[in-house]
């Protein structure tokens, strides 16, 4: 299949995925698009939203659409790492012999919903985050690889913070995106109610498979990106560091810690996917700008000045984007 065909299939696949997801998820177009980008780019997503906005439904629907096994892990403080990864158990075989058999945990799926990950203990979080990063686990010296594509969508409840274990920055950095699922509008809520009155089950059907996702991932890597846009993305990340010489004025004033190099990698990789999704064959400044908040909001720590000026992290990123436009374009 030549490149033209591949690109055509890519565009058609994206359109079909979005169409299917719309049957189960009302609104949240940006969230849906960014989740698709993250899956194709091979990254994981941290989703923040109040209960009931459709986080689980989104991932479940996505699993049906992509025809990928889906697993939901509800994190609680008493959840153990082995509850996530699996453990060795002793089983008696048909001959009555005792064998040690590895019982796979819920992590052995392609799409994982790690619900309220901040409620689990750091130990359990680490086990989860390790598999997110490396796509493998080691149990009793045996390495078990996750089947690709492997995608984790973790959630955080922004309301209930009592008894939670906030993810450390180093762990947060492993998420490609942090998306904020907002409460639906009145019109969207009407549509949700109308839809769920009929059935609570997801209606999405499979339109592509995992292999196609992997092909799309490979294809997106070949999207050309000019030097200026690459430097634009890199500068955006370096400007977040107040300790650097070329730090932006915004960073010096409002940022405590800047983003890691993973942020730059995520920006470039996802920008290519986004460009291809929008029917373009090259990455533009607009692609980088559109992905700046999802990529940076969980990687930047704002300081008290921002709090004092009533600036959220998204506001600070907005200022960084404006400065970057002036300095880098």
């Amino acid at each position: 299949m030549d490149e033209t065909e591949k690109v055509k299939r890519f565009s058609e696949a994206i359109a079909r995925i979005k169409e299917q997801l719309r049957t189960d998820v009302v609104g949240q177009e940006e969230i849906v698009e960014n989740v698709i980008i993250a899956i194709i780019a091979g990254g994981n997503v941290l989703l923040e939203g109040v209960p009931g906005v459709g986080k689980t439904r989104l991932v479940r629907s996505l699993g049906r659409t992509l025809n990928l096994p889906f697993a939901r892990i509800q994190f609680t403080p008493d959840l153990m790492p082995s509850d996530v990864t699996g453990t060795n158990v002793i089983e008696k075989d048909e001959n009555g012999k005792m064998n040690v058999v590895f019982q796979r945990g819920p992590i052995f799926a392609n799409l994982i919903l790690a619900d309220e990950i901040n409620r689990a203990t750091p130990k359990t979080q680490s086990a989860m985050l390790e598999v997110m990063q490396e796509h493998k686990i080691t149990v009793s010296n045996t390495v078990y690889r996750m089947e690709e594509p492997f995608f984790v969508l973790a959630t955080e409840n922004p309301i209930e913070q009592d008894g939670t274990y906030p993810l450390p920055e180093a762990q947060m950095d492993r998420f490609m995106f942090k998306l904020i699922m907002k409460f639906p509008s009145a019109e969207e809520l009407v549509d949700i109610i109308n839809m769920t009155q009929i059935t609570l089950d997801e209606n999405a059907t499979a339109v592509i498979d995992g292999e196609t996702i992997l092909e799309m991932r490979e294809l997106s890597k070949s999207v050309p990106m000019i030097e200026d846009v690459l430097r634009y993305a890199v500068n955006l990340v370096t400007y977040t560091h107040p300790e650097l010489e070329n730090a932006s004025e915004t960073a010096k004033k409002y940022v405590k810690y800047g983003a890691s190099p993973r942020a730059a990698q995520a920006l470039v990789t996802c920008a290519k996917v986004r460009a291809l999704m929008n029917g373009k064959f090259n990455v533009s400044y607009a692609d980088v700008d559109a992905l700046a908040r999802p990529v940076l909001r969980h990687r930047i720590k704002i300081n008290y000045n921002a709090v004092n000026d009533r600036l959220s992290v998204d506001d600070v990123i907005g200022k960084l984007l404006e400065e970057n436009k002036k300095l880098s374009r």
Partner: protein
């Protein structure tokens, strides 16, 4: 590279060339205008071709620099196209990945080319057009202002004048000669006073312009003084205007005033002294000739016609004496009055006398007039001669042209600076002068003014000696030889 992009590139190059030429033109006009203005204000003159050369040179240089500086590179052009047509960096990617043979790059190029083809034609930005027009207008204004601004005239250097011993001695000598002269006491004193005043005024260092003005003023005063009692020109002109034989008498009277020029040549004081006693001998025949026509006519008349003619001549002469500013005691006026009276008396003698006797009386009257007139006119002619002498001497001392048509040109002398109004003293000379013939120079050894030719040999030998001794540079020697060649050629 896609043809579409090449088309835009060609248009961009043309646009850059256009702006470069416009910029060069503006720069050329502005620089030429400024240069012209500055040179005009500094009173420096250049030929039109020099300005053309500068203007064209600046225009070409600035055009070339502007073109190479502002001609957009492919990267700059692609960026401009992306921004202008909102192509989301498609063209830039197409240009940067032009050499990439990947399938995705090829697709990208196709996509970019398709989008670019659909883009409208680029328009010149209004700001660029406006700024170019403004720059051109300013340059033209500068240029044409410089053209129409009048050039400042170069100030003529005003040479300073030093009244040194040379001029002082010569002027003192002139004053002494005037005192020695036979001018009437009153005009003599006045002329001496004018010369003394001139000498006193020139003792301080002054500009040559002031000196020349002072000398001319003094000469004019002296001319007025010397010719104040000049009744000959008054009566002579009146008589010359008659339609009878008396006009000959008028002409004779007028000619008497310049009788001293009979000899010709330069009028030195020696010449004045030599010619003074000869004046009467020169004037008497003139007057005698002047009355001859009248006598001849009378002798041909008979009877009443004779008497009538006599009375008419008497009346005509008397009429010429009327209504003039000349004093009645003026010698010439007295002589003419006596002639008129005598002719009238002869006309009243009646028929008791023969014509021969009457003609004899008339002849006597004419002779008497000739004698008295000669005496009177000698004095007036002397004044004119002295006036000319003084004028020539002043001209020679200060190298100032005082010619009024009556005097010869000035010679070299004094140390006044060069003056454009001065009579030329070059070879060939102006006014027909030749060196060594009419021009004079002050001889310090004798203290007199001598013809230039008598000193030329001495001058030349001294200079040649200096040349032989090596005191004059080789370059100057060339000019000196040429100088004397001109003098000698003119001298012949």
């Amino acid at each position: 590279m896609k043809e579409t992009f090449r088309k835009f590139r060609r248009a961009a190059v043309r646009r850059a060339a256009g702006f470069a030429v416009a910029g060069g033109l503006c720069a050329g006009l502005a620089v030429t205008g400024i240069l012209l203005l500055v040179l005009k204000l500094c009173a420096v003159v250049w030929g039109w071709w020099a300005y053309l050369l500068v203007g064209v040179g600046v225009c070409a240089a600035v055009s070339a620099v502007c073109f190479f500086l502002f001609r957009p590179s492919d990267k700059e052009l692609s960026k401009a196209l992306d921004e202008e047509f909102s192509l989301d960096e498609r063209v830039q990617t197409m240009v940067e990945y032009a050499a990439d043979d990947g399938a995705m790059s090829a697709l990208q190029r196709e996509d970019a080319a398709a989008r670019l083809s659909a883009a409208p034609k680029r328009k010149l930005p209004l700001s660029a057009i406006l700024s170019t027009a403004i720059a051109f207008a300013v340059a033209c204004a500068l240029f044409f202002t410089a053209i129409f601004v009048p050039a400042r005239e170069k100030p003529v250097p005003d040479d300073s004048f030093e009244f040194d011993v040379w001029e002082a001695t010569a002027l003192e000598q002139l004053i002494g000669e005037v005192r020695e002269s036979s001018l009437q006491p009153t005009p003599k004193e006045s002329v001496v006073a004018v010369l003394e005043e001139l000498k006193a005024g020139l003792t301080d260092e002054q500009s040559a312009t002031v000196m020349r003005a002072a000398v001319r003023s003094a000469a004019q005063l002296i001319a007025g003084i010397a010719t104040a009692g000049n009744s000959a020109s008054v009566f002579g002109e009146r008589l010359a205007a008659q339609e009878t034989e008396l006009s000959d008498l008028g002409d004779a009277i007028l000619a008497s005033l310049s009788a001293y020029r009979a000899e010709g040549g330069f009028l030195s004081f020696d010449a004045v002294r030599r010619r003074e006693p000869e004046l009467s001998d020169a004037i008497a025949p003139l007057l005698s000739e002047g009355t001859e026509a009248m006598r001849n006519r009378l002798s041909e008349l008979l009877g009443a016609k004779f008497y009538q003619a006599m009375r008419e001549d008497s009346a005509a002469i008397a009429a010429c004496l009327q209504d003039s500013d000349v004093s009645e005691t003026d010698a010439l006026s007295v002589a003419l009055a006596a002639l008129s009276a005598e002719l009238n008396r002869i006309a009243g003698l009646g028929e008791g006398y023969s014509l021969a006797v009457l003609n004899g009386y008339a002849a006597n009257a004419c002779d008497a007039f000739t004698a008295k007139g000669t005496e009177a006119l000698s004095v007036q002619a002397y004044s004119c001669m002295m006036n000319e002498f003084i004028r020539n001497r002043l001209s020679a001392i200060f190298n100032v042209s005082l010619s009024d048509g009556n005097s010869s040109g000035g010679g070299t002398g004094g140390t006044g600076g060069s003056d454009e109004e001065e009579s030329s003293s070059g070879g060939g000379g102006s006014g027909g002068n030749k060196y060594g013939s009419d021009d004079v120079i002050y001889d310090p050894e004798t203290g007199t003014y001598v013809p230039y030719g008598t000193l030329l040999e001495k001058y030349n030998s001294i200079v040649n000696e200096l040349v032989r001794e090596g005191q004059i540079s080789a370059e100057m020697e060339k000019y000196i030889r040429e100088y004397f060649n001109i003098l000698y050629n003119g001298f012949e």
